[in-house]
């Protein structure tokens, strides 16, 4: 494997003392998959350190090893220079390592406050949990993060963004020496990201080490001092951020040149395919009316929690709605029936791939063909061979990286999982494609391909409705941008007039949203 720029040795950057945490020659296998091969990492006190790499590069595996969830096959983890062994998450926590996992891991039945303090609840006499103190401390944490979440409500039903915020609150409440954040911003909007960064900076300034993982390279440049690049489970380089340009970084991650990020073609809009009128769900969204034409890409923009996901879910039929109508090609869809929505040609790529998009235990094949199971059957019968062929068609096109398509989809990295969700829906050849956060947690190369795909689909006459919290993506891709504020459509901005400012202005509402 050769790299255009050659490999920089793991030379310590500015800090001079020994790293707080280091990994030396760590390898980790899952079955025959080598997730890590001789990985290296040096994390110094007082620095924010970025870990970047494509999907499946092994970033989350490093996180889980640091967290004590996985143990390395070979190699060692050094804490303050001496080798340690974490036999479980409790060991790592005790060593002062706090981790925000890529996927929120909350206890849905417990209150938000308990989720934050589980195992460390403040106690009073008789080792009794002090609920008042717990609530107070939770509120303080949310105050620092600039959000308001009721600490007493159960975690069930929190939006992904709020779940992520609870995770962050939990991690910072540990007052850890090392804060590891695996794609914490994937679900957050700009405002929340800013607050998170402010908190991370102050932790860093008070001497903590922060390990930050993100596919949004601008965030890496905003927050971090140094960046370690990984590819295929191997260490590539570790440098001060200031020494690198975005292009260089991308080249190291991908091992090749990457071009046009948002390759949207100008396409002729055709007939109206999807019409949504007066859609209302009490307390969530109200009187939502819009249409999407064939060949058009329409984006639903807005702050996290504005209700965009709920709107598209209702339109697809997974959620019920109280009033309004959804029409595809002129025919009204029955309420709450995804089956007929699919028959009418709608596809929905949901925002939460683990819960909504995939069945983690089933094979890639089964996941990729589940939407086409009727169409793939002959005389009502299915054969494994046909399913596999059909699955391969799209997983190959999207370059899903897997040892075998008969492996459970849980063995894939986050980005590759997202590709399987896309494969599953693109295979239905929809007339209307709804994508909710289609590039969340996807690496830069794949992201470009997803964009190209969406664009191609639009060219072929598919009506595309995209929910995205990434403004550059919205601006780059959409022909038209619908802005949602607190469950209502507040603006319809054509591509030509759209700027970050105009969208944000609409999204925060005229009076400004109290956050």
């Amino acid at each position: 494997m050769t790299h255009p720029e050659g490999t920089t040795a793991a030379s310590p950057g500015t800090p001079t003392e020994a790293p707080v945490v280091a990994m030396r020659d760590v390898s980790k296998h899952f079955g025959a998959v080598a997730a890590l091969r001789n990985a290296q990492l040096d994390l110094y006190a007082g620095e924010a350190h970025a870990l970047v790499g494509e999907n499946g590069a092994g970033k989350s595996t490093i996180v889980k090893i640091l967290a004590g969830v996985h143990q390395p096959d070979t190699g060692s983890v050094l804490l303050d220079g001496s080798p340690v062994r974490f036999d479980g998450a409790a060991d790592a926590q005790a060593a002062g390592i706090a981790v925000i996992y890529q996927e929120p891991t909350l206890f849905p039945d417990l209150s938000v406050a308990e989720n934050i303090f589980m195992g460390r609840q403040p106690v009073r006499g008789w080792r009794r949990i002090d609920r008042g103190a717990m609530r107070r401390q939770a509120n303080e944490l949310f105050g620092r993060l600039g959000v308001r979440i009721n600490p007493d409500r159960p975690a069930r039903g929190l939006s992904i963004a709020d779940q992520q915020i609870v995770e962050i609150a939990k991690a910072i409440s540990l007052d850890a020496r090392v804060l590891v954040m695996d794609e914490p911003t994937a679900a957050l909007s700009g405002h929340e990201v800013d607050r998170l960064f402010a908190v991370a900076r102050s932790l860093r300034d008070s001497g903590a080490a922060v390990l930050f993982i993100s596919h949004r390279l601008d965030e890496v440049f905003t927050l971090c001092q140094r960046v370690t690049v990984m590819r295929d489970g191997q260490f590539v380089s570790s440098d001060p951020v200031s020494d690198l340009s975005v292009d260089q970084l991308v080249r190291r991650m991908v091992g090749r040149e990457i071009s046009a990020l948002f390759p949207k073609n100008e396409a002729e809009a055709g007939d109206t395919v999807l019409e949504v009128s007066g859609l209302t769900q009490a307390g969530v969204f109200a009187d939502v009316t819009f249409e999407v034409k064939a060949g058009e890409i329409v984006a639903l923009a807005g702050l996290v929690g504005a209700g965009r996901s709920e709107i598209v879910r209702a339109a697809f039929g997974v959620d019920h709605y109280d009033s309004g109508e959804v029409r595809v090609g002129g025919t009204t869809l029955p309420k709450g029936d995804p089956g007929s929505a699919m028959a009418a040609g709608i596809a929905l790529v949901p925002e939460d791939r683990r819960q909504q998009g995939l069945v983690m235990e089933l094979s890639i094949t089964r996941n990729a063909t589940v939407t086409r199971r009727r169409e793939l059957s002959r005389w009502g019968l299915l054969t494994a061979g046909r399913e596999r062929t059909a699955a391969r068609e799209w997983t190959d096109r999207l370059k899903v990286k897997a040892a075998s398509i008969d492996n459970p989809v849980s063995t894939l990295s986050g980005g590759n999982q997202q590709k399987v969700v896309l494969a599953k829906w693109l295979a239905t050849r929809p007339r209307v494609l709804i994508v909710d956060e289609p590039t969340r947690g996807i690496d830069i190369g794949t992201k470009a391909e997803v964009h190209r795909l969406l664009s191609e689909l639009a060219n072929d006459g598919v009506a595309v409705l995209m929910v995205s919290s990434e403004l550059p993506e919205v601006l780059g891709m959409a022909d038209r941008i619908l802005v949602v504020h607190e469950g209502r459509l507040v603006a319809n901005v054509p591509r030509a007039e759209a700027t970050e400012e105009s969208i944000m202005y609409a999204a925060t509402g005229e009076a400004g949203r109290p956050v």
Partner: protein, 325 residues
């Protein structure tokens, strides 16, 4: 927290309604003797339901409680036949220890071999009962074979309230307090709520689940001792088929069958409700052919009612959410 307590209120309401309706039709239903009988009758089921809730909260289940009860009840009888002079406290402790050992078998299989509890305990339901049969054979231990003080213990009262009821109440309060107020108690809920997340949190799931099974076994053992004291006639069939009743009591009491939520207070009320249904059907002179059908209807009705109430609470919670529109 206050909102969550609402679930127990619903079931308490059902209990009050049932008692009120029965009393209206036959005022003697609330006589002291009758209330005492209710408490006495419920005590054993309450203890079992508390233990079962502990296990269910961790997203497991123990179907072998009926068999554990049978085995310990017979063991208690056999022990007392051999050692009639043992103090009652010792008998209770031995019974609980025996139950705990059986619980350890369940817990060990569930945590060490990592296999689904429903399957394991369905297996030990048969296995423990088979062991009981093999041990007891056709032998029956009768009241005359057991020491009088032990039998009296089954019906004795303090302040007019049966001792058995006090024991059950103590079990409910202690377990309930621990689950609600100790860090380790809350971890039971965490494990049941999302076992995978519990691992990521560094919660010692295996140990906690083990504790749940062992405590449940010990409580089933305690119930076995009380069973022996109360009924005085013991053979290998004691407690057969009780497992479904116990699970029903917990579920009726609002303990979610998939773990993570519910309280032992609710389960205890559920157990009292089920026992009261039995007693009030007897008092109301419902046709014997209808009795079981009515019990079934009431169980289904109670679960449905609980669901409707909790849906109300959930809606209210949504409305009061800080992000609510």
């Amino acid at each position: 927290m206050a909102l969550m307590r609402f679930r127990e209120l619903g079931i308490l309401l059902a209990l009050v309604l049932l008692v009120a309706a029965t009393t209206i039709s036959n005022p003697r239903f609330l006589s002291t003797q009758s209330v005492r009988d209710l408490l006495l009758g419920a005590a054993i089921l309450v203890i079992l339901a508390v233990g079962q809730s502990l296990v269910i909260i961790t997203r497991n289940v123990d179907l072998s409680v009926g068999s554990i009860l049978g085995l310990t009840a017979f063991g208690t009888g056999a022990l007392l036949v051999a050692q009639p002079n043992l103090p009652i406290v010792v008998v209770i402790l031995v019974g609980m220890a025996f139950g705990a050992v059986l619980g350890t078998v369940n817990g060990g299989l569930v945590t060490l071999a990592r296999v689904p509890a429903l399957v394991v305990t369905l297996g030990t339901l048969y296995a423990f009962r088979g062991f009981d049969y093999a041990w007891a054979g056709g032998r029956q231990i009768n009241a005359a074979d057991m020491p009088r003080p032990f039998l009296d213990f089954g019906t004795q009262r303090i302040l007019g309230i049966p001792i058995l009821a006090f024991i059950a109440l103590a079990v409910v309060l202690i377990v309930g307090w621990c689950l609600g107020n100790l860090r380790s108690g809350r971890e039971f809920y965490a494990i049941g709520s999302d076992p995978a997340a519990a691992v990521l949190y560094g919660i010692p799931s295996g140990r906690r689940i083990m504790v749940a099974f062992v405590v449940n076994g010990a409580l089933a053992g305690l119930a076995g001792v009380l069973y022996a004291a109360r009924f005085g006639t013991l053979d290998a069939t004691a407690g057969s088929g009780m497992e479904l009743q116990v699970v029903a009591a917990a579920v009726v009491g609002g303990v979610a069958i998939f773990g993570g939520s519910g309280t032992v207070y609710g389960a205890a009320i559920g157990a009292v409700l089920l026992t009261t249904i039995g007693s009030s059907l007897a008092v109301l002179r419902v046709s014997p052919f209808w009795q079981q059908a009515v019990v079934g209807m009431l169980i289904v009705g109670a679960i449905a009612l609980d669901r409707l109430l909790s849906a109300r609470v959930a809606r209210r919670l949504q409305g009061s959410g800080p992000r609510g529109a």
